[in-house]
């Protein structure tokens, strides 16, 4: 007995980690072998690289820059609806991209609310397509995330520091130097890196709001090479380029990130004595109001215009919704089958391999895995037949890093608390998993399952590579309706998708916490 005894062994978890690594590295290898047949990067590929970097940098700087005053205002104000607003800040994480884009179109689009208002005073309408549209959508998704990350850092400042500052009669400037600047220095680089990394792999936003030679991301270029030109060599080269970018960004983001903004303790209100001046209050009200409007307007637009067309929704939309529900459930089951054993293995000390596959999961791009799988499947079978299984697996792998971040700390805690008791009762292996781990981790399992189901339900990524005209998930069906300029039907479909995604998250998350003991 060279090591401390443990109530579970890590073999299944290591197996799952190896499966994930094999899937990501195997598809990468398939892509790399294919890339040698290609002919290097052309000028449009360089343009895609430039655009990808430009939009990611702009999105990161704007999201984080705007998040700072919002987080600051939320940290020092208490008001009715504060918890609701903070909960709303978590929503974009599970909000289907296509829904948000339709909402943004309703508000900022050519015939949207703001353009109409501008028309009344004789100004030309806004145009949402191109770089600024892509950045706008990214800020919509990442401003809330960045706000939660920064707010978390603000909440972690011990209340004694505020008490001391109040005691010393520190004014706004002194407060900034004493407390706020140090915490921003700690959290801002990580937030920038995370948003940058997320925006690098942006596909659905670029697909709908970008396009054309001047607004194509690498991810979108992979899709186009694949779908329009069926140029596997070029898709492979672009995939390699994308992988280098995302792996680098993921490593940087991991180095900086201490937390993931998914924490539940954000609605704690610290007692504060500063920020009582009229200027500070106006400032905070302004920023909280702007952030709330920015999030709520597009969502309300979808609900409003979606409700109108709901009765005339075409039958294909319901068919697609059925497919999406089955897909989301399958993907959730696959995720749990991978993530649970991996979290158990991590809890008994096998951290290295688990972390490696977590990093791989962050760096992996769905389109690259999709391309690789297509190349691998192509010689043996018609890939479109396997569109749904492939999508379910890829979606599960995409949700894996988040699930691990939720599950591993809890699994470690449970093994720490009850491992010895289990061992002394000879409860090893399956009995310990069934009677202790699964029951003690219910809330975390429900939360991760909810995230996985919602992410998979709303995903518009790898399915676009594989689907034939007859099969579609709900997000793909909505995209096709948009392409056919049937915007009312698209809005109604988006409302349905919104309800399904949030509903799936709610059911799992609630289920996990239902009748749970402390």
């Amino acid at each position: 007995m060279a090591e401390r005894a443990q109530p579970i062994n890590a073999r299944t978890g290591i197996g799952a980690a190896l499966f994930v690594a094999a899937l990501i590295l195997g598809t990468l290898a398939a892509v790399a072998l294919r890339a040698e047949e290609g002919r290097g990067l052309g000028s449009s590929d360089w343009a895609a690289l430039r655009f990808t970097l430009t939009q990611a940098i702009l999105s990161a700087v704007l999201s984080v820059g705007l998040a700072i005053p919002v987080a600051r205002a939320l940290a020092r104000r208490r008001f009715a609806g504060r918890s609701a607003l903070i909960a709303l800040l978590g929503a974009p994480f599970i909000l289907p991209v296509i829904v948000a884009i339709l909402g943004l179109l309703h508000v900022f689009g050519r015939s949207g609310w703001i353009s109409q208002a501008l028309g009344f005073v004789g100004l030309p309408p806004l145009s949402i397509y191109g770089l600024h549209g892509v950045v706008l959508a990214h800020v919509f998704f990442n401003l809330p995330l960045a706000t939660r990350l920064i707010l978390q850092a603000w909440q972690e400042v011990p209340s004694e520091q505020y008490r001391l500052a109040a005691q010393l009669n520190a004014g706004p400037r002194a407060m900034f130097g004493l407390i706020e600047l140090p915490l921003l220095k700690r959290v801002v680089p990580g937030a920038l890196a995370i948003v940058f990394a997320i925006c690098l792999t942006s596909f659905a936003v670029a697909l709908t709001l970008g396009g054309g030679p001047r607004a194509t991301t690498i991810e979108l270029a992979i899709y186009q090479a694949f779908r329009f030109d069926f140029d596997l060599g070029r898709a492979a080269i672009l995939s390699g380029l994308q992988l280098i970018l995302t792996a680098g960004a993921a490593l940087i983001a991991l180095r900086f990130s201490r937390n993931h903004g998914l924490g539940a303790e954000l609605d704690r209100v610290l007692r504060r004595w500063d920020g009582t001046g009229v200027g500070a209050q106006t400032f905070d009200v302004f920023w909280i109001g702007i952030a709330a409007l920015f999030l709520l307007l597009p969502l309300s637009a979808i609900v409003l215009s979606g409700l109108i067309g709901l009765s005339t929704l075409p039958i294909e939309v319901f068919k697609a919704a059925g497919i999406s529900v089955i897909l989301a459930l399958s993907s959730t089951i696959i995720l749990l089958l991978m993530a649970l054993p991996m979290s158990f293995a991590a809890a008994v000390g096998k951290r290295g391999i688990i972390e490696i596959s977590g990093i791989l999961g962050l760096a992996a791009s769905p389109l690259v895995i999709g391309t690789g799988l297509f190349i691998l499947i192509h010689p043996f079978a018609n890939p479109t037949v396997l569109a749904l299984p492939v999508t379910a697996i890829v979606n599960a792998v995409m949700a894996l890093p988040f699930a691990l971040r939720i599950l591993v700390p809890r699994a470690r805690q449970v093994v720490g608390q009850y491992g010895k008791l289990g061992l002394s009762l000879d409860m090893k292996g399956f009995p310990f998993v069934r009677h202790v781990l699964l029951l003690r981790m219910r809330a975390q399992i429900g939360f991760s399952a909810g995230l996985a189901a919602a992410l998979s339900m709303g995903d518009l990524g790898v399915i676009t590579l594989f689907a034939d005209p007859d099969t579609a998930t709900l997000p793909l069906q909505i995209y096709r309706l948009m392409g056919a300029y049937r915007m009312d039907a698209a809005a109604s479909g988006a409302l349905l998708l919104l309800v399904l995604s949030l509903g799936a998250f709610w059911v799992f998350d609630r289920g996990g916490r239902w009748h749970a003991e402390a």
Binding site: M1, R4, A5, G422, S424, R434
Partner: protein
Amino acid sequence: MLKLEECKITNGGFSLAVNLNIERGKRVAVIGPSGAGKSTLIEAIAGFLPLAAGTIAWGADCLSNLEPGKRPVAMLFQDGNLFPHLTAAQNVALGLRPDLRLSTAQISQVDAALERVGLSDFSARKPAALSGGQQSRVALARVLVQGRDLLLLDEPFAALGPALKAEMLDLVSDLVRETGATLLMVSHDPADARRIADEVVLVVDGIAHPPQAVDALLDNPPPALRDYLG
């Protein structure tokens, strides 16, 4: 007889040397200053810490390489002795079947154990709905159904008030007398030792000394123990 022969236990940077025998059926208190290695000793006997050298044997059986659950040992920890999501009866049942698949005979065994500790009416309750003393009784009922030869206590009653703690120690004392189990209990309090123990193992400066009669040792403490007792 429990035999620890030339044992060396390392835990982090800490090392404990043990060479002692404990006779079957004795009740032994393990006392000594904090950080001296009392818990290390108990955890090594229970199998949670590996031996760097030496052997542990119970009668003719060598325990050194057995997993914790395969040793003739029942143990209560400082805290977390019950699973909060299981009922009192289920927590007791774990002592018979870790997978909770009990036969009818085993179910009545669980009921009998809960009755013995005075908790017949509480079998369906979860720990959160029990008082601290009742939780300790559930854990002791489980020790009873486990029917192991050795009972190790790592201060499981430390969080209870003085009267309740004395009550639990008396219950432990009764239970080990009924079952003939050998008791090793970690304690900070010499009064605990006088209350239920026959012998004391003094753990100090990285050495666990062989057991000595309680009264003889406590009435005439060696210098190291005198420093600790104050």
